[in-house]
């Protein structure tokens, strides 16, 4: 027994020392790399549900420092390039897509470039990432998204009709990939202030302080922070961990963290109201979710299947009382299958602005339709129809019951 304790103590010491030695070695190597480059520190290594990080460091005197922050988690970003070529006027119709866009990305530029960001904000929806990067002198330091592999497809009208993304084109060179990554950044994050920040003070002696607000809806996992002066001169990579705990959950396809009670109660209220007004909840739920900032592709693709089961049970109940004309339902159903094959493809191709515009008009048409359903003329007709419907249903139910009894 005594021997056992001795052994245990020795073992513990060995473990304690070996980890210490290892840690020392690590800090030595990182100090060495920092000597010739940029020193970078963060005030905390761990965040819970977002928060503020203060990044400090020291760079060679008189140089502009830029800080890139990106998440370990990736999301999809896509964009259809249909802008006419300035020379030929031809529209390229090339669909750019990457599944490796960081779910969070920010480039912090020195405070003196605040005007550049303000100018871009004034331009509204037409602002350009590449122009901001150029004007803020960040062309050499913009690095992380540019490295992500972007696929491109030549789409055609026919490809859209048969619901394919088109033909995959050969990969782009480094320069092109970088340029397209900037457009995809904008397509994914849209606003100037999500992609750029100018909260970076640089003192005369080269020390700098930056502030980063990680929003509460940011993805969980590691965040990488890198300070750069140019392509070669950069700090070592600093990692910060962001924890997300229940009731917050991360939606991996949307690239966002949400409090799960939010969408739950929203969906509950909207679908209940949807039943009352006689139109599915999707008409109200989808615009709200999109206005809250969730990607329109994920909203459309995720809300649609939620009604699948209630529709299936509805079909089953109607079929039990023989209230379905299969010939009519299947004929129109086939036309709808064709349409539903194409629709989701189009969701991908359109921008958020186009999504909002078309959806806005659909809602106006629906509102007009529902208003018409409250006019006296319609109500009178509707009352008669409902009475006939009720009568027919009753007869059908009785017949089904009789048959069931007869079958026994």
């Amino acid at each position: 027994m005594k021997n056992f304790w001795k052994l245990a103590i020795i073992l513990m010491f060995t473990i304690a020392f070996s980890t210490n030695i290892y840690a020392e070695q690590q800090s030595v190597t990182s100090a060495e790399t920092q000597k010739e480059g940029i020193v970078l520190q963060v005030d905390k290594k761990e965040l819970s549900g977002g928060g503020k990080i203060i990044v400090t460091g020291k760079a060679p005197q008189g140089k502009d420092v830029y800080i890139e922050i990106w998440s370990e988690k990736n999301v999809r970003a896509a964009r259809l390039d249909a802008d006419p070529d300035p020379k030929t006027g031809k529209r390229p119709y090339i669909f750019y897509m990457t599944d490796e866009m960081p779910a969070f990305y920010t480039l912090i530029v020195p405070e003196k470039y605040k005007d550049v960001l303000d100018q871009a904000k004034k331009e509204g929806g037409k602002w350009s990432v590449s122009k901001v990067i150029k004007d803020a002198g960040a062309d050499a330091v913009y690095g992380e998204p540019a490295k992500r592999k972007i696929e491109r497809y030549q789409t055609t009208l026919w490809a859209s009709v048969i619901g394919s993304r088109g033909t995959l084109l050969p990969p782009m060179d480094e320069k092109d990939n970088k340029r397209r990554s900037m457009q995809l950044l904008k397509a994914k994050f849209r606003s100037v202030e999500t992609i750029f920040s100018s909260k970076l003070k640089i003192a005369q002696d080269g020390t700098f302080t930056a502030e980063l607000d990680l929003p509460s809806n940011a993805a969980p996992g590691k965040y990488f922070i890198l300070a750069k002066v140019d392509k070669e001169l950069k700090s070592s990579l600093v990692t910060v961990e962001n924890k997300v705990t229940l009731p917050n959950v991360y939606l991996s396809n949307a690239g966002r963290t949400v409090n799960l009670f939010g969408p739950f109660f929203l969906a509950l209220v909207v679908t209940t109201f949807g039943v009352l007004m006689g139109a599915g909840g999707g008409f109200i739920l989808n615009p709200i979710l999109v206005l809250l900032g969730l990607p329109h592709t994920v909203v459309a693709g995720t809300v649609m299947p939620t009604v699948l089961f209630s529709q299936a049970s509805g079909v089953y109940n109607y079929s039990k009382i023989k209230f379905i004309n299969w010939k009519l339902g299947i004929t129109l159903g086939l036309a709808m299958i064709l349409g539903a094959f194409i629709g989701p493809k189009l969701t991908e191709l359109i921008t958020l602005a186009q999504f909002k515009f078309i959806f806005g008009w659909i809602l106006i048409i629906l509102a007009a339709l529902m208003f018409w359903q409250t006019t006296p003329g319609y109500l009178e007709k509707h009352k008669k129809e409902q009475a006939i419907l009720k009568e027919f249903k009753k007869r059908a139910e009785e017949a089904a019951k009789k048959k069931a009894e007869g079958g026994k």
Binding site: L276, A300, T302, G329, L332, A340
Partner: protein, 129 residues
């Protein structure tokens, strides 16, 4: 096309029905809403079919639409499982609560409230406010 429903015969105008159903399916699957509020008027007003023929058959057609659209969205990777698992129970629960409240409310009032609500949403989508 001639169809029979409970011993009665109706003529369904497919020249309107098929393009109409196709267009509704494109929009419905593109934006992820149910096609019911558009399919029922298409079949009653434009195809001149009585309501009792339409209710079941339109639901069957829409079910095909939802199924295909969902599969396509899934294939394109636009389906978020966690998000779905949050909203699906809410949708089922809403389907239970809705009909129970419906009996106590005037459908005309509900519809008028819905009209106002839809217009507000539409205008905010269009960026008016």
């Amino acid at each position: 096309m001639k169809i029979e429903f409970w011993g009665q015969e109706f003529k369904a105008n497919l020249w309107i029905g098929i393009p109409g159903a196709f267009l509704i399916a494109v929009l419905s699957s593109m934006f992820g809403f149910g096609g019911g509020p558009f399919m029922v008027p298409l079949m009653t007003v434009f195809m001149r079919l009585p309501m009792y023929v339409v209710v079941g058959s339109s639901l069957l057609a829409i079910f095909f639409n939802t199924l295909t659209g969902s599969l396509r969205h899934y294939g394109f990777g636009n389906f978020d499982l966690v998000f779905f698992l949050i909203m699906f129970p809410a949708a089922i629960l809403g389907g239970f609560i809705g009909p129970r409240i419906a009996k106590r409310l005037s459908p005309i009032v509900v519809k008028r409230v819905a009209v106002v609500g839809l217009l507000i949403l539409a205008l905010s989508l269009l960026g008016v406010f």
